[in-house]
């Protein structure tokens, strides 16, 4: 052994990193249904969970998968599922249920081309709006968008932390490229990783109110079968958990559900910038597209073009205010994404700048050259 004996360096894919990170985060319940390009996450966990004191179950469909992880999470166990577009569509109703009942769960969506069966083996970023608005109703959600295998590891753990801390469904948006690319990663030592668990009630069961507001807006959790007998329903409910259609109570519930994310958005939002200080052109890119964008910035900078990159790790809540501030001096914003402009629209709303889209919906990665070309186009 050399000096690297304190570090754990491995070659792995994004799907493998996601599964490994979930175990590090303390995930001990996985329910899923086979779907390309996410299946390796289930396969890794089918091998590892039984010896890690956890449960792996292959359910009959994606609706059952998310239902099962919500059930498991109510027992106090960190739970996850992984899928791709068609399965993500099927899960939407119960994602709303998790949001409404404030049950922490993590849903990994390895994006592929859609709609419908689309391009099962090819990448896409076309579920970014579905991640935000896929289920019906006004509801809070957090979605993270790693762009490398290492980031997938780190942001899967953070997804669990967010989910536990705010009691919301958290969506990890990968795409086929990150899922299947092999990269060398050095796994952070476990004591360097912050692992957050949901805050448990210390109230006596008789006076426990499962949906009582707290200063953070997040109610205190009590696991099923731990002596706290309470009611959970997807119906609008009051702080006792029982159904209510009282206008004041209903409005309070919806506002609190959204406020608990809004008031913590500064703790949730994270992004990276590259050469943005003097940039006249700003590229906003996430996931796989950010890899090409980073290269494009380097190439264009060599030609003296003042271009920079804004790369969000958290897509929802959208870092609009931060982006607007950082691009105050920029003339143009370029948004490369493997869809027809879903985030470009969001960027346009947030910055009120001239936004140029670079889109691909043919199942191929946007290359650095395509972005460079657009940089030159807007430069003229």
């Amino acid at each position: 052994m050399t000096s690297s004996n304190n570090t754990d360096t491995r070659l792995m894919t994004g799907n493998e990193a996601c599964a490994e990170a979930a175990l590090v985060a303390g995930m001990r319940f996985f329910a899923g249904y086979p779907i390309t390009p996410s299946s390796e996450i289930a396969e890794v966990l089918a091998r590892k969970l039984p010896s890690s004191g956890g449960v792996f179950i292959q359910m009959e469909d994606e609706i059952g998968s998310i239902a099962a992880i919500i059930g498991a999470s109510l027992a106090g166990v960190k739970a996850m599922t992984a899928t791709s577009g068609p399965g993500f569509s099927l899960m939407q109703e119960n994602i709303g249920y998790a949001a409404m009942t404030e049950v922490p769960v993590v849903i990994v969506n390895v994006q592929r081309g859609g709609p419908s069966t689309g391009l099962p083996t090819l990448p896409s970023q076309s579920d970014v709006m579905q991640a935000r608005w896929g289920t019906h109703g006004d509801h809070p959600v957090i979605a993270v968008v790693p762009s490398t295998v290492y980031e997938t590891f780190v942001w899967t753990i953070k997804a669990f932390n967010f989910s536990e801390q705010y009691r919301v469904p958290v969506i990890v948006l990968l795409d086929e490229i990150i899922a299947h690319i092999n990269e060398k990663i050095t796994i952070p030592a476990h004591d360097e990783l912050a692992i957050i668990d949901r805050t448990l009630s210390s109230q006596p069961p008789e006076s426990y109110l499962p949906y009582k507001n707290t200063p953070s807006g997040v109610p205190l959790f009590a696991g099923f079968g731990t002596g706290y007998r309470y009611h959970v329903t997807g119906l609008c409910h009051d702080e006792t958990g029982f159904p209510s259609s009282n206008a004041r109570i209903v409005e309070e519930l919806y506002l609190r559900l959204n406020r608990k994310i809004d008031q913590h958005r500064n703790d949730i939002i994270e992004y990276q910038t590259l050469d943005l200080d003097d940039a006249e052109i700003c590229i906003v890119a996430y996931g796989s597209s950010a890899r090409s964008a980073q290269r494009a910035v380097r190439i264009a900078r060599q030609d003296g073009i003042k271009v920079g990159l804004f790369k969000p790790f958290v897509l929802w809540p959208f870092p609009g205010e931060e982006l607007a501030e950082l691009t105050r001096k920029a003339k143009t914003i370029i948004v490369p994404e493997m869809n027809l402009g879903q985030i470009a629209h969001e960027v346009s709303c947030a910055t009120r700048k001239d936004v140029v889209s670079v889109n691909r919906v043919d199942g191929t990665l946007i290359t650095p050259q395509e972005i460079v070309k657009r940089i030159y186009d807007v430069q003229v």
Binding site: A31, A67, A68, G76, F224, R229, V232, T233, G234
Partner: protein, 270 residues
Amino acid sequence: MFRYEYYLRNKHFPHIWCTGCGCGIILKSLLRAIDRSALSKDEIALISGIGCSSRTPGYVDFNTLHTTHGRALAFATGLKLAKPDLKVIVVSGDGDATAIGGNHFIHTARRNIDITAIIYNNHIYGMTGGQASPTTPLGKRGSTAPYGSIEPDFDISGLAIAAGASFVARSTCYHAVQLDKFIEKGLSKKGFSLIEVLSPCPTYYSRPNRLGTAVDMMRWYKENSIPFARAKDMSAEERRDKVITGILHDIERPEFCEEYKRLTERVKGT
């Protein structure tokens, strides 16, 4: 001494069910069976989907979970696997369990996971106003079958047996004493146990089908139910339009949570 009040969330009454509905009869039977089984309130989780019967969990003092339409068994599967020492009971209606939840129904039975499901079969979607369900008998009316249903109906118990349940019984709201025993047996059975209960819906099933009042429905159950032991020797013609009651199926099969535990021991051992 047994008191219903001990198990009920009394301040949440009156309940939402119509006069003459079978939901209250089944609820009381469930509570008597739980009491006889000497289960503590803390160790019971009662889970439901959507519909009239699915409002039951709100009224009882257990760990209670009112989920999405058709998915109760899938939520229950997750909870049971994550916390196997819980006694997990699912209450569901015919539409919830065998239409929108049909896939979860057959796969929960196939896995033979230790969950007790009580299916209230009133042949109709009551909550939404009397639409035809998969158990609306051929020719009977619902608001979406105004000329009579042209679809053959599901045999809920038969479906559970074919899919792999280890205990299946059928009773009616008239046979409340028998129902207590079946639920009690189901609760003590290791594996997936299913109790189908025929339940009157005087508001939305009896009325369009001119079947009379709730009392007439109870009389119909009384007069048209045949014990399974006797029905076995009857011809198909004699059994037509009758309700076959009794323990229809009771076998020993490996239970899923135990099999999973065995798997983990095997994996750790190697």
